[in-house]
Structures are given as structure tokens and as C-alpha cells.
Symmetry: C2
Subunit: 263 residues, 2 copies
DNA sequence: CGACTATTTGAGGAGTGTCAAGAGTAGTGG
DNA sequence: CCACTACTCTTGACACTCCTCAAATAGTCG
């Protein structure tokens, strides 16, 4: 099955999973079967999923950004992760009946819906796709781990610099950012909620980094002016983003399964 | 296959996965085949896995505690998660050749080793086990998400109280803690590294909570003296620990797969 | 233009970190 | 059984990062 026969949702997910492995026809067929429903649109600020509410559909994001967040009873909010095109919303949604976090559109966005329980069928039908989904889960865990380091052990200055370097690296590898420029629909309040800081302090930190010539923040876009020094400020090392293909031994194991069947 | 025919590693993992679903014979056979190597021992302080080093075996922890952590170039350390019996070390280890975090024994411990690539074969052979592994991954993500909330938005006092309530809930559901007492091999330095605080401040916070009669900290053990008030301090809600079985619809989907095959 | 929303700046304070030193608490070896 | 060593834990004094409150400025969109 050629890429252009697939739905937009399948293509978006495929683009991401291709970072990890070139999916075989069986995997592509399974993927296409999963994502065969018409796409949906959300406006900025709307929830694709609400903390405490019953789960509905899962999605693959096609265009736009979203944030997964948890809110405490007194209103304090922590953003757990940013979701960009190709990322899944509620991939493991079938497992808990009630959502433990919210997913909110940060910009107008479009997404491809799918049934949460479909993930099991998907895993059973294509070992290669199963491995790719495990990879995607592992990658999310890596990113959350690096965020834990930021929140626990990095200064405000380091957190801000690290966030932009991460977003830049994530967008670049999927062709969504070029040069030192990136389009990000993030307000300072959103950055604050992601980094565990107050809006006021985020503002001061951004202005300080700008004054030092490290970056320039414009409305909904950021320019990284001195990437070398930004790396030094944070000790940024993009290994955790897992922008590389499957290791040899895993590929060999998979090939054996595909050839001889799972038995 | 009866439980007592299995290796200790398979039994430990099974005990954990049973929180989610009663595994069928096919799943149990697959699990037993995965964990058929002799167990290994580590002393307190030793690494089961070292950040920056090539990956070796993966493990299921049988007895004792471990911590997964990342260390910055200047020595600052952040603990990402605590691992207790039944938890897996490097479950997704086959996917990245180099370890992005360390796993260190917090007490003397024993573990059952397995080949990292075996996870793929496991997924292909038993859809039920695959679903259980996805559940385990989703649960880890939930716990990390709650830790992000702690580090980003909770005060020292709230973080400490929340940590002990979490550990207590996790141990109790596996029968490793009774009453209001829990055995934890945690020094104040380790608690500090987990909560993103300094040792000094952890000490002050613990003493304050003790002075208020909320908990009593003894050498390697903690007593939660006023659980109701501890819940109030933190707004603790254990839903995120996913101590419940598989939802109906997912169970139905799985049953269909097991009966009619993945085709 | 008017109503919002987002950004920016100032002043003062609370929460945590750092540095330093003393007191417990094992474990080790003579 | 007692010194000796190495961790831990505890406490005090002080500094600093970051937060809160408040208000002005700048964008954005109907």
C-alpha cells in the first residue's frame, strides 16, 4: 500500500513511526484500517479529553498543537507534555475508564479519531507495528523523564532554554521547523505551567535570555540566536528524543517473527 | 501452567500484572519462557544499569528496591521512579542502545534477568500479555505524570506527604505493607533527589510533619499516623496508580482476539 | 473604538538552598 | 569490648531564587 492511499491520520502517524523503522506492508495495512474515520477539528482552548471525565475517542494529531495537563483542586496546573502533529492522544485510553489528565488544543487543530480499544487488535495483527508503538511509548517516557529533571533540578533559566531546544529538535526532525526559527503557539502562561514557574518569572527569564542575545521571542515564534551557548546553559543532549532507527538486534528479532510467524 | 511451576521472576511479574487481568494459560506459558534464567543479586549502591553505558540485560525485580535516576554533568541528580518487587528494569531497553538513565539498588536486591529483545516475541505470542505490558507502561506514565505535578506545582510539605502516600498505596496493593507502617530503604538524600529538594529541607519538612503528628520516621521505616489529614495536605487521589482491572470493552476485544486469532 | 488577552515592570516577601558544624548510628577491625 | 571510620541525621545562620500582588503597557479581534 502506497503512502498516498492512506488517510491523513495514518500518514501523520506513519511519518512519526518512520523515525524508528520502515514499516512493512502488513503494518501499513493495519495502520490504515485503524485510522479510517473522517478527521475532526478543534478550536484553540477546547478539550480533546477532560480530566475526570469518561474517555471518548483517541486521536492522532494532524495539524496544530495540544497540551496534556493535570489540574489540582485549588487550580494549580501542570502541563505534562506538548503534543504535535503525528502524536497520539489517549493511545492507552482503553486501559482506564476515566481520564486522569486533560488534553487541550493550544491552537486550532485537526485530528484523526480512532477507537481506544483498537490498539490491542493493532498489536496482535502486526508485530512490527507493535514494536513501533512500544517505541513511541518509550520515547514519551524519555521525554517525561527529562522534564522531571528540569522541574526537579534545573533553574528557571535552564528550564526555559531546555524547553526551546527540545521543541526545536522535535519539530526539526519532522520537517516542521527550519533554520533557527520555530513557530510555537505558546503563551508565557503555558510555558509557566509546563516548567513549574510563575508567569512573571517566565517573563523575566525570557527577557534576560533575550538581553543576552541567546534567543528572540516574538508573537508565537522563537528564534534561537546562539544555539551553542544555549546548549551550554542547559547541558542539552538530544539523545533522549530517540531520533534514530531501531537497533540491529531488535530488527533481526522482528524480521524472524515476520518471516516465521509468532509461534 | 500453575503458578508454582513458574520461575520466581515470572511469579513476581505475574503478581503485578494480575492487578490488571487474570492471565490465560497462553500468556503464562509465554511469561515463563521469557524468564527462565537464574536470578542475580546486587548489593545496595550497585548499578543494574548505568546512564551512558551500553545496555546489558533487562530485569524483573524480585526482592528489594531500586531507583531510576538521571545525573547532570555537574552532579545534580534527579530520581525518576522507585522500583519495587515485580517492576521491570529496562523493559524497553532494546529500543535504545545506550542507557539514558541509571538504575541503582537502594537495598540489597535480587532480580530475574531477561534479554531486552524478548519483549517483541512476547508481544507477538500473547495478545493478552501484550495488553498487560501496555497497561504496565501506561501505569508508569501515570506515576511519572503525578511526579511532574509534584515537582512543578506542589510545596515541599505536599511533595513529602504525597510520596509516602504513594509508596504506601503501591506496597499495600501487593501485600508488602500492612497497617499504617511501611518499610522503605530511603535515606533523606534519596528522598531529596526524588522530590527535587535539598537534603536539609527534606529533613526540616519531615521533622515538621512529625511534630504535627502526621507521620513518624524511624530508621528505614515510616508510620503514617494521620492518613486522613495527610490526604488533605496533598489532595492525594490514588486513581493514577491504576489499581483496578481491565475495563469491559477492552476485555471483550481481547477475548475476541484470543478466540478467533489476530487475523 | 472597545473589550479582551497577553506581556512587562516594580516592590516586597515566602520558601528553599547553601554552608557549616555537631550528634547519632552502623559497621569494622584490633 | 572499644576505638575508628563512614554515613546519616539534625540544627543554625544567611543568601538567593522565585512567588505574589499590583498596575501599566501592548497586542488582537470583533
Amino acid at each position: 500500500m502506497a503512502t498516498n492511499d492512506m488517510s491523513p491520520g495514518a500518514r501523520a502517524l506513519l511519518t512519526k513511526l518512520d523515525l524508528f523503522a520502515k514499516l512493512d506492508p502488513q503494518a501499513r495495512r493495519t495502520l490504515a484500517g485503524l485510522l479510517d474515520r473522517p478527521q475532526v477539528s478543534y478550536e484553540r482552548g477546547q478539550d480533546l479529553m477532560t480530566q475526570g471525565a469518561l474517555r471518548r475517542d483517541s486521536y492522532v494529531i494532524l495539524t496544530g498543537w495540544a497540551a496534556r495537563s493535570k489540574t489540582l483542586p485549588d487550580g494549580r496546573r501542570q502541563i505534562l507534555s506538548f503534543l504535535t502533529p503525528g502524536d497520539a492522544v489517549g493511545l492507552f485510553g482503553a486501559i482506564t475508564p476515566v481520564a486522569t489528565s486533560s488534553v487541550t488544543a493550544l491552537s486550532d487543530l485537526t485530528a484523526a479519531p480512532f477507537a481506544p480499544t483498537a490498539i490491542v487488535r493493532t498489536i496482535a495483527r502486526s508485530p512490527q507495528l507493535a514494536a513501533a508503538l512500544v517505541w513511541a511509548a518509550a520515547r514519551e517516557q524519555e521525554i517525561m523523564g527529562e522534564h522531571l529533571v528540569s522541574l526537579g533540578r534545573r533553574s528557571a533559566r535552564e528550564r526555559v532554554a531546555h524547553l526551546f531546544l527540545e521543541l526545536w529538535a522535535r519539530l526539526k526532525v519532522r520537517g516542521l521547523a527550519g533554520g533557527d526559527q520555530l513557530q510555537v503557539p505558546l503563551t508565557q502562561q503555558i510555558i509557566a505551567d509546563a516548567l513549574g514557574l510563575s508567569v512573571v518569572h517566565v517573563n523575566r527569564t525570557l527577557r534576560q535570555l533575550a538581553a543576552e542575545g541567546l534567543l528572540a521571542v516574538k508573537r508565537e515564534s522563537v528564534a534561537l540566536l546562539d544555539i551553542r551557548q544555549l546548549h551550554q546553559v542547559t547541558g542539552f543532549d538530544e539523545d533522549y528524543l530517540m531520533h534514530h532507527a531501531m537497533p540491529q538486534d531488535l530488527a533481526a528479532e522482528l524480521a524472524r517473527l515476520v518471516t516465521h510467524g509468532p509461534g
